[in-house]
């Protein structure tokens, strides 16, 4: 299976953010790979390897990103995890919106012709959660969002995708090629079944570490450069950020004197019991 995975670098969510006008103050920001995209890379690797036989590769994983040259660092770490190659489309965050990103990935899909596009369900910075959906629309491909499990079925022609919805887990069957966005439980030990790795195999929970040999091997893998112009994507930003505000500081709580008072408040004020 050939899989295209999107990867965005985002500021470290643990770090305190500073604003400069309507944008994030980027000085002193620690950049890292968007967590959900890291999960998408992990899922793609699980889909394209035989974990029962020394992780032998069984397909191709191409990681794509839009961003400045520095994003090479994050791409390199996905190559160190085991992805085969990467494409970096030169762009700066201020000049991008979901539409441009989706159109760019569409062009790359037309160029690379993968069987599957895997994306994180959202990026931790903007939390827009719409690139995957737009992309599926533009491509005219079936989509399954918020995947918590993926199983290859029909002899590799389709996927059974589990989606966590309010009422439980909904299972959708999508024929390939398709677009799938992943949620956090996709990296559970047995969330991905590719039909090659033994069905009983359990991965360690979470995305894999880049092993040291992986890091050294990644030096020799290619990161191809591209640009919006080369891909023929119109770079006009249509979504503009009107204003950005930090969330209001949390108000101090109240102290209750007794269990009775707590029960009273939960009943009368919070109305939860």
């Amino acid at each position: 299976m050939k899989i295209l995975v999107t990867a965005k670098r985002v500021p470290d969510p643990e770090q305190k953010v500073k604003f400069k006008g309507n944008t994030l103050d980027q000085s002193g920001v620690n950049w890292q790979l968007n967590q959900f995209d890291e999960y998408a890379v992990e899922s793609a690797l699980r889909l394209t390897e035989n974990a029962s036989s020394g992780n032998a590769r069984n397909g191709e994983v191409i990681v794509v990103s839009l961003g400045p040259k520095d994003v090479q660092q994050q791409l390199r770490s996905t190559l160190a995890m085991g992805a085969d190659r990467a494409i970096l489309v030169d762009a700066s965050d201020e000049n991008l919106d979901s539409e441009i990103v989706a159109r760019t990935v569409q062009k790359l899909v037309e160029q690379e012709r993968p069987d599957l596009v895997l994306l994180g369900k959202l990026a931790a910075d903007s939390e827009a959660n719409d690139v995957g959906q737009r992309l599926a629309g533009y491509l005219g491909w079936p989509q399954a969002t918020f995947a918590c499990s993926i199983e290859v079925t029909d002899g590799g022609k389709a996927l059974l995708v589990g989606r966590e919805v309010d009422a439980g887990v909904e299972t959708k069957k999508v024929t390939l090629p398709a677009v799938v966005t992943v949620d956090l439980r996709i990296v559970a030990p047995q969330a991905v079944k590719n039909g090659v790795t033994a069905a009983t195999h359990a991965y360690a929970d979470g995305p894999r570490y880049a092993s040291l040999k992986g890091i050294m091997a990644a030096k020799k893998k290619t990161i191809a450069d591209s640009s919006l112009a080369a891909l023929g994507v119109a770079a006009t930003v249509r979504a503009k950020v009107a204003s950005v505000d930090a969330p209001p500081a949390r108000k101090a709580g109240v102290k209750v004197a007794s269990v009775e008072e707590l029960v009273q408040k939960l009943h009368n004020e919070a109305k939860v019991i």
């Binding site: 643990e14 390199r76 770490s77 570490y209 880049a210 092993s211 040291l212 890091i215």
Partner: protein, 387 residues
């Protein structure tokens, strides 16, 4: 909360991308797989038998060697592995140091092709464990006086003597043992189960409790002729290994110091006395700044020695200076952190007490602080104070 490191001077800018990635990988590994259980292992005095395999899967064992399934990292990359492991615990780092610098390295540098093929790939994967026997009950700082001897009798070597303070001794599949032969000191590979070879653990340690420390006993231990490391020749061979290990320790000590600084900073910012955080008091701030300054200096030292080593220009005496400075620095940081944590600092709910106890060993092993001092003293004066 994941450990975010300490890099006041942006020293990380001086590392290559791979070196930074190695550091990040190990940092995450330590957060996920060492920190949750290290307190329990330290208290119980146990080494987790799962660690070698996990470190092997990562490629963290013998990572600076080239070929034989090793990662072939730069010296700085190797050092950063040690730094991050020791941020977790000196005992875990000691295991990795011994495996890589004191066992895989001599096999790599002095071993025959057959010895390398037999041991290095397995050891890199953590499937075989090694130990290094140089110190003896009566000969620590003065290894030249060693009593352990190897005699050639027919088609065998007969080994007699004792080695003491041996990290991983009783869990090792193979021991690199240094012994006097007729003409010079040579290294031997002694496999677990060899006739006349036994081990005994050293109990009652208050330091490096999460690592195994043993005695090795050889009583007419019979070894095949090809047990000798053919390239080993004289005391300079084990000393070369120690130089490798001291290099890693110089980085490792910074990890322990960073953990203590981090803990002291967080604790003193949160704990209030006299109506304000401890960290608002001048005496506390001074201690925090002293730690920060000492760690920053140490980071610059190891970066430089790493680059010198990469260029093949690092002299053992320069490495000794690094070990001397950084371990003393880390021990001081651990004691300061312990002090700043007050009574909490003496319990194992916090890390600084564990690091403090561990670092007492690090201060002494692979060449004591005194010996490092006299090595550098001899280097600058041309006069040996101990020979």
């Amino acid at each position: 909360m994941p450990f975010s490191g300490l890099d006041y001077y942006n020293v990380e800018d001086l590392y290559s991308d791979e070196e930074r990635q190695v550091m990040q990988t190990l940092r995450r590994f330590v957060d996920d797989e060492i920190m949750p259980s290290i307190g329990r292992h330290f208290r119980a005095g146990t080494f987790d038998p799962a660690w070698p395999r996990r470190l092997g899967e990562l490629g963290a064992l013998g990572a600076s060697l080239k070929g034989y399934g090793c990662a072939g990292l730069s010296p700085v990359g190797y050092g950063l592995i040690m730094q991050e492991l020791e941020r977790g615990d000196s005992g875990v780092r000691s295991f990795a140091s011994v495996q890589g610098s004191l066992v895989m390295y001599p096999i790599f540098a002095f071993g025959s092709e057959a010895q390398k093929d037999r041991w290095l790939p397995k050891m890199a994967r953590g499937e075989a464990i090694g130990c290094f026997g140089l110190s003896e009950p009566d000969f620590g700082s003065n290894p030249a006086g060693m009593r352990c001897s190897a005699k050639r009798v027919g088609d065998k070597w007969i080994l007699n003597g004792e080695k003491r303070w041996i990290t991983s001794g009783s869990i090792a599949d193979v021991a690199v043992v240094w012994a006097k032969t007729e003409d010079k000191i040579r290294g031997f590979l002694v496999e677990r189960g060899a006739k006349g070879f036994s081990t005994r653990n050293i109990e009652g340690k208050f330091s490096l409790r999460a690592s195994v420390t043993s005695e090795l006993i050889f009583e007419d231990c019979e070894l095949p002729l090809d047990a000798v490391l053919p390239g080993s020749s004289g005391l300079r061979s084990p000393l070369e290994c120690l130089s490798q290990a001291r290099f890693g320790i110089s980085f490792g000590a910074i990890g322990a110091a960073m953990a203590c600084y981090d803990e002291a900073l967080n604790y003193t910012r949160e704990r209030a006395q006299f109506g304000k955080p401890l960290a608002s008091h001048q005496l506390v701030q001074q201690k925090l700044v002293d730690m920060l300054q000492a760690i920053t200096q140490a980071q610059l030292m190891v970066w430089r020695i790493g680059r010198l080593k990469e260029a093949g220009r690092a002299r053992p005496q320069q490495i000794s200076l690094c070990k001397r400075n950084n371990v003393k620095m880390a021990l001081k940081c651990a004691r300061t952190a312990r002090e700043l944590l007050g009574a909490s600092g003496i319990t194992d709910a916090y890390q600084c007490g564990r690091h403090m106890c561990n670092l007492e060993s690090v201060y002494t092993y692979e060449g004591t602080d005194h010996i490092q001092t006299l090595i550098v003293g001899q280097d600058i004066t041309g006069i040996s104070a101990f020979q």
